[in-house]
């Protein structure tokens, strides 16, 4: 018996109950029955082109394609009959006629769907004795190659580029057996170079410029990590051989990103092997950075830090942390600054006002943060600012999928162009930087706009008021009071609103959550919260000063002015980020220590450079911009550099021996994460999912609403990275920047500079 909402049908004699509208191929899969297919791909439009999924259906004279056949009540489907087996064999025989069968030299060998299908369902011999069609391989871009003879024309690539990416860079040329896939720009690709087409290709027709002819898949080990670049937190599976990453992809769809990766996630891993990588410590001697032993370098740092502390006091010391180091490292660094050095001069480049969002939501934040999955399932999305297509590609992918799969409505308030506007129901365009004023107007009708803008805002408001349960996304321009405006605007809509602040980098949120802020402790407790300050003072074994420290920008100014004497920079490039004009060493500093992968503009000015491991080379956790925490793993040995975790920990011990502060006794990132879970508000996460490779949402919340919170002026800003840049790290991703598209900077000044394929 079935209830009203269910239908029952039979596959291979098994009774299946499912919802109306279910495709037979999906229902069978859930039942554990594989129906082979090439062209069918969940989430993309139906094709019925490959004819591999033919099944028998009672009362239907011809075999039916299970990928388009909707199960109906009482239907009797058979997938295990001689007729079905023969049809599969015959289709494979047909598709192999013009296939080169060059499996021994094909990148896809070993993980090829055509190989697997032929192995499982195909003939053991070939009856084709005619000449095969041949055409030479084509290089479409440094990252994408096409081998037409291998192509089975399943059109997955065309669809993912069109429907999934909304780039439409792939099409079909010629006709019949001569059909080929065509790139959009006279034999070349002009696109986002996401490489989705490569991953989705079931055969070796589309291959990766970074991976082709490098290895066989079974020679590699696989490590799934959050991507090292933007703040979306896509999982990318690193394929490693001989301590070298050869490929990154995400075919198992295990992360929050499903199958999605952008160019950075897929091709931006080669910074790890960049020849410019700093592989041993450098100490400045006679004005020149010379290689030094770890022992000497660490001794130099600790001795001179101790000296600066002694001579100038803790207020003359500063720490600038990273948007890319792990939560454990950030937590340790915070502890190092406040409990070892005894200073609140700690900050990082803030790329979104996470603190402002926590302050605006207060204790209610726990169920008010939107996840990446929430975007996909949202009925409506309000996007304020940012070009998510370029800055947060997964967010853009989720929005497109939500619109395409279930008709979600996208509302945009933006001062800049973005390709995502194509998906929008209503776009209220304001002049650049006027999003805050527009929000103010939406809340209070205060302020003046021209009639066209006013009309757009009125339409936007009316549209939003018809929605229930809006996911609200906003960029770096929306801070402090503007976030409060947004929250109060959303409170007027029916249903539960959820929020996501869009930052720039892999652990931008984690850096804020872990309290790399001069006025906040981990979990956004302000220093004025005496109970929290006492709690962390006790935990860290030292009294945390009550007065807020200097912000990153002010620290640099103070350093130039000679008021700050020692600066410890971990995984950041503040000279570039904040634009320090002084060309030489930072004038007033006695000691600049930089811990990084490369000799950045800041590192080049350092007294000591400590080479650090990247997030692909160490264990820990990262928190994406939505607050989703994921584990990152040591996929390979960094060959020289050490993890920031180790370096901070070792320094604390060395300083302890010199009589400064209490050594940090957390020996491993796991131990540090245990402390974080116990002591940082919102991070009391279950380990089960994390250990299994999943994500857990951390909701670092303020214990109190802070109605007056404003971030310090000029401290929250986006680097405006786009698809081919990634702050300082992007410069060292050789493959990524080898594309033609990388040379074009979208929206650098005016809309007309947007790349044509994104317009």
């Amino acid at each position: 018996m079935t209830d009203d909402k269910q239908i029952a049908f039979t596959i291979n004699g098994q009774q299946v109950t499912t919802t109306p509208g279910t495709l037979v191929i999906e229902a069978a899969k859930r039942q554990g029955i594989e129906i082979p297919s090439f062209c069918y791909y969940p989430g993309l439009s139906l094709q019925a082109a490959c004819r591999m999924c033919l099944v028998e259906v009672e009362k239907m004279p011809k075999l039916q394609t299970a990928c388009t056949l909707v199960a109906t009540d009482g239907m009797v489907v058979k997938t295990d009959t001689p007729g079905v087996h023969k049809a599969r064999k015959d289709m494979l025989e047909f598709v192999l006629t013009n296939h080169p069968l060059d499996c021994p030299v094909c990148d896809k060998g070993g993980e090829c769907e055509l190989q697997d299908m032929t192995f499982r369902y195909g003939l053991d011999k070939s009856r084709f004795v005619e000449e095969k069609l041949h055409s030479p391989e084509e290089k479409w871009s440094p990252l994408v190659y096409y081998d037409a003879p291998r192509c089975i024309l399943c059109f997955r690539c065309v669809r993912v580029c069109d429907e999934g990416m909304d780039v439409k860079a792939l099409g079909v040329g010629a006709r019949g057996v001569h059909s080929v896939i065509l790139p959009n720009h006279s034999g070349q690709l002009a696109c986002e170079e996401c490489g989705m087409c490569i991953d989705i290709c079931p055969v070796g027709a589309l291959t990766s410029g970074t991976y082709r002819y490098q290895t066989r898949p079974w020679e590699m080990t696989y490590v799934s990590n959050p991507c090292a670049h933007c703040s979306d937190g896509c999982k990318t599976t690193l394929s490693v051989r001989n301590n070298e990453i050869l490929r990154a992809n995400n075919r198992d769809r295990s992360g929050i990103n499903g199958e999605f990766l952008c160019a950075k996630g897929r091709f931006g891993f080669d910074f790890t092997a960049n020849p410019e990588r700093v592989r041993q410590p450098l100490v400045r001697r006679n004005g020149k950075l010379d290689p030094a032993s770890w022992e000497d370098a660490l001794e130099e740092v600790s001795r001179r830090l101790r000296q600066a502390h002694e001579t100038h006091g803790p207020a003359a010391l500063g720490v600038i942390g990273s948007n890319r180091t792990t939560n454990e490292e950030n937590y340790l660094l915070n502890r190092f600054a406040r409990a070892v050095l005894g200073t609140n001069n700690i900050d990082h480049h803030r790329t979104a006002d996470y603190a402002g969002l926590a302050a605006a939501l207060g204790p209610g934040a726990r169920d008010s943060l939107a996840t990446m999955a929430d975007i996909y399932s949202a009925g409506a999305v309000l996007l304020v600012g940012n070009d998510v297509t370029n800055q947060n590609p997964l967010v853009a992918w989720q929005i497109r999928a939500a619109v395409r799969h279930h008709g979600a409505r996208l509302y945009v308030l933006n001062g800049r162009p973005s390709k995502i506007h194509r998906q929008a129901k209503i776009v209220a365009e304001v002049s650049e930087g006027a999003e805050r004023q527009a929000l103010r107007w939406l809340v209070s009708e205060q302020g003046q706009f021209d009639s066209k803008t006013t009309e757009a805002l009125v339409r936007l408001k009316a549209g939003l008021e018809s929605e229930s349960g809006v996911v609200v996304l906003f960029g770096a321009d929306i801070t402090g009071s503007a976030i409060r405006d947004l929250v109060s605007l959303a409170a007027r809509f029916s249903g539960k609103a959820k929020f996501m602040a869009l930052g720039d980098y892999a652990n931008s949120r984690g850096a804020s959550d872990m309290g790399l802020l001069p006025d906040r402790l981990p979990g956004y407790a302000p220093l004025s919260d005496t109970a929290e300050r006492a709690r962390f003072s006790k935990l860290w074994g030292a009294e945390i000063p009550a007065a807020p420290g200097l912000t990153a920008r002010v620290m640099l100014e103070a350093a130039v002015a000679g008021k700050l004497k020692a600066l410890y920079v971990v995984g950041a490039n503040p000279v570039k980020t904040f634009g320090v004009a002084d060309a030489g060493r930072i004038a007033g500093l006695d000691l600049l220590v930089v811990q990084d992968l490369f000799l950045t503009e800041t590192a080049a000015r350092a007294d000591v450079v400590l080479p650090a491991a990247s997030s692909y080379e160490k264990d820990g956790t990262l928190t994406n911009t939505a607050g989703e925490v994921q584990m990152t793993h040591r996929a390979m040995d960094p060959q020289g550099p050490r993890s920031d975790f180790d370096l901070i920990r070792i320094l604390s011990h060395q300083l302890g021996m010199l009589g400064l502060g209490t050594p940090i006794r957390l020996r491993t990132p796991e131990a540090a994460f245990e402390e974080i879970r116990r002591h940082v508000a919102g991070y009391d996460l279950s380990m089960a999912d994390l250990l299994a490779g999943g994500s857990e949402v951390a909701v670092a919340t303020c214990r109190i609403h802070e109605p007056g919170y404003e971030p310090p002026a000029g401290e929250v800003f986006s680097s405006r990275d786009y698809l081919f840049t990634s702050g300082t790290l992007g410069r060292y991703c050789s493959k990524l920047i080898s594309t033609e598209e990388a040379k074009e900077k979208p929206w650098s000044s005016s809309p007309s500079t947007q790349s044509w394929w994104q317009r």
Binding site: L46, Q47, A48, A49, C50, R51, M52, L54, P61, K62, L63, T68, A87, D90, M91, E93, F94, V95, T97, N98, R127, F128, E130, E131, L133, I152, L153, K168, A169, L170, G171, V172, G173, A174, R175, G176, V177, H178, S179, L182, P183, N184, H185, S186, W757
Partner: protein, 604 residues
């Protein structure tokens, strides 16, 4: 880019014609090609810009259609048909003759750019075989001498006179004929509105609009037992009744004039000699399902027909038979004529809609069916040109009376284009159920040269072949089906005793491989494989195991392809291997035992 004023005006007019701009793409490419000789990168970019498309979208569409060129052709583009009907009457020899005479091969251009040559698939001149087109002009009933004269005249800058109407459409009426839809054929200036009006024109429309409700119209068409004349034979009235009465979207009437089934040329005379009959039928259909817009999709090769239909539309509109408030009834209906650009697949109804939307002619997944989700995603009635041209007669004489002209379940009359080895190739209107033997022997004057009959294709090259001893059947949908074949499109092709059936199988497979859209694996790969194998086999490279393999591969396509094109390729092949297996065996001796072997030049 700057366009010549006429083309500029044409582009602007085309863009404004359709509910979506992209529909103008194929016509724009054709007109641009007509002017510039080919489609340059610059033109593609210009067209893309005007239609808000990206260059790839234009390139993709362009690449699909065989008439569209990326390189210049000669001033006179000679297109010689070698498909079945022409092949049987010397098309191949004619093609070779042109090759020799012009000294150029397939798709090559003469050094002076005066001529270019192309071996083409069926151009719809089967009853005037062998035939060719020079640019858009038809020259039929050719032989090498006639051809030389034409080439000489072209060389001298003169324009030889093309055929005035489809050869074989005009002939003395035989007693067996029953002209209903062809009765104005041969009447002077029959395509004009005034002549049409003198011959019962638009009376049915007036009746339908003023005396009948939409439901009554559908009822009448149902009663007429009018079945689809395109090939599938689906009852027209039933098709109309599937269109939802209430629809938020506009509904459309679509006339399928993509006549491309080899052996078939009966829509061409209907369009060229009686366009108003079609327009009237479409308007009545529009009234029946409450549609207000119609499209006539004409195959690209019939360019001159487009001009005739467009002129008829202008005339009808001026006289109030199209447009707003037709005949004071309050009913609005208008029609756009449109052409494809060379693709047999676009005769498949859903592929035709894709093509009309300016895309590659790939068929669509069904359900949903066009009656519910068709052109532009709207409910659509799509019928063959002949089917819609029959509607005025049905309404005028009443469904029952029309039905009674034929046999039960097979109402009325239909046009047969009979070609091949007969004495009188031509287009004849006969009642449904007319005996095939009489069609060949009496109507078409029997097998040419007193030869014996070997085989008959009853209704276009996708039908299984009938052997000489299978022709005592009635030509109606059910009887032919019972005999293991199909009535199809009415394109009857007669093959005499000398015909090499391996060569016929080979030529037919060439066509389907050329026309396979490439969407689904079995058709794309199956037709190409069979084409190569049949080429090899016919050339003397056959192996004994090829004979069952040809049969099996055809059967492996059958019933498993996305659209019926796979079946169309498989069915004749299977029937030939089955009925003339001995000829395949004879070929194993290394030579063709029948007509001299011929090789298709230049492949696809």
């Amino acid at each position: 880019m700057e366009l010549p004023p006429l083309l500029e005006a044409k582009f602007n007019e085309l863009i404004g014609r359709y509910p979506i701009k992209r529909s103008a793409l194929i016509p724009m490419m054709l007109y641009a090609q007509d002017h510039f000789g080919f489609l340059s990168d610059e033109l593609i970019e210009e067209i893309a810009r005007r239609l808000d498309l990206n260059v790839l979208q234009v390139t993709e569409t362009l690449a699909y259609y065989s008439m569209l060129r990326r390189k210049p052709a000669g001033r006179h583009h000679i297109q010689v048909c070698t498909n079945i009907s022409c092949m049987l009457r010397g098309g191949k020899e004619l093609y070779e003759h042109v090759q020799k005479r012009l000294g150029i091969g397939n798709k090559e251009v003469s050094p002076s750019s005066t001529f270019s040559l192309e071996e083409v698939e069926c151009i719809g001149a089967c009853t005037g075989a062998p035939a060719m087109q020079v640019n858009y002009d038809f020259y039929e009933n050719l032989d090498p001498d006639k051809l030389d004269v034409i080439l000489e005249q072209l060389q001298e800058g003169k324009k030889p006179k093309p055929v005035p109407v489809t050869s074989g459409a005009l002939h003395e009426r035989l007693p067996a004929e029953m002209p209903v839809i062809s009765k104005r054929f041969g009447v002077s200036n029959s395509r004009s509105l005034s002549v049409y009006l003198q011959h019962e024109g638009y009376q049915a429309l007036e009746k339908a609009l003023k005396q009948m409700t939409p439901d009554q119209i559908i009822e009448e068409v149902k009663k007429s037992n009018l079945r689809g004349r395109g090939g599938a034979g689906f009852p027209a009235g039933m098709k109309w009744s599937f269109v939802p009465r209430d629809s938020a979207k506009p509904k459309y009437i679509l006339a399928n004039g993509d006549e491309s089934e080899p052996g078939t040329c009966k829509d061409r005379p209907l369009l060229e000699m009686d366009p108003h009959q079609l327009l009237e039928g479409m308007t009545i259909a529009g009234r029946a399902v409450d549609a207000h817009r119609g499209f006539v999709y004409i195959r690209g090769e019939y360019r001159y027909v487009l001009e005739i239909v467009e002129a008829a539309i202008v005339e009808a509109r001026a006289a109030g038979y199209l447009g707003n408030n037709i005949l004071g009834s309050g009913f609005d209906f208008d029609i756009v004529a449109h052409t494809g650009a060379g693709a047999y697949e676009c005769g498949e109804e859903s592929a035709l809609m894709e093509s009309l939307e300016g895309k590659r002619g790939y068929p669509r997944i069904r359900p949903p069916f066009p009656a519910v989700v068709g052109l532009y995603g709207s409910p659509t009635v799509i019928n063959n040109v002949e089917t819609l041209s029959t509607v005025p007669a049905v309404i005028r004489m009443g469904g029952e009376a029309y039905a009674n002209l034929g046999t039960p379940k097979n109402g009325g009359t239909r046009l047969y284009s009979i070609s091949g080895h007969v004495n009188r190739p031509g287009i004849y209107e006969l009642p449904l159920g007319f005996p095939l033997r009489r069609l060949i022997e009496e109507v078409a004057g029997g097998v040419r040269g007193g030869k014996k009959l070997k085989a008959v294709i009853p209704g276009g090259s996708s039908c299984p072949m009938l052997s000489a001893d299978e022709i005592d059947i009635a030509m109606d949908y059910d009887s032919v089906a019972k005999a293991g074949s199909m009535l199809g499109s009415g394109g009857t092709v007669v093959l005499d005793e000398d015909t090499c059936m391996v060569d016929v199988a080979r030529r037919i497979m060439h066509f389907y491989a050329h026309e396979s859209c490439g969407w689904c694996i079995p058709c794309r790969e199956g037709t190409a494989w069979l084409r190569k194998m049949l080429d090899r086999f016919h050339d003397g490279g056959g192996r004994a195991e090829d004979i069952p393999l040809i049969d099996e591969l055809a059967k492996n396509m059958l019933g498993r392809t996305f659209c019926p094109l796979g079946d169309a390729a498989a069915l004749p092949t299977i029937s030939i291997v089955k009925k003339w297996r001995n000829e395949f065996e004879d070929h194993l001796q290394g030579k063709c035992a029948y007509r001299p072997a011929e090789v298709i030049a230049g492949g696809h």
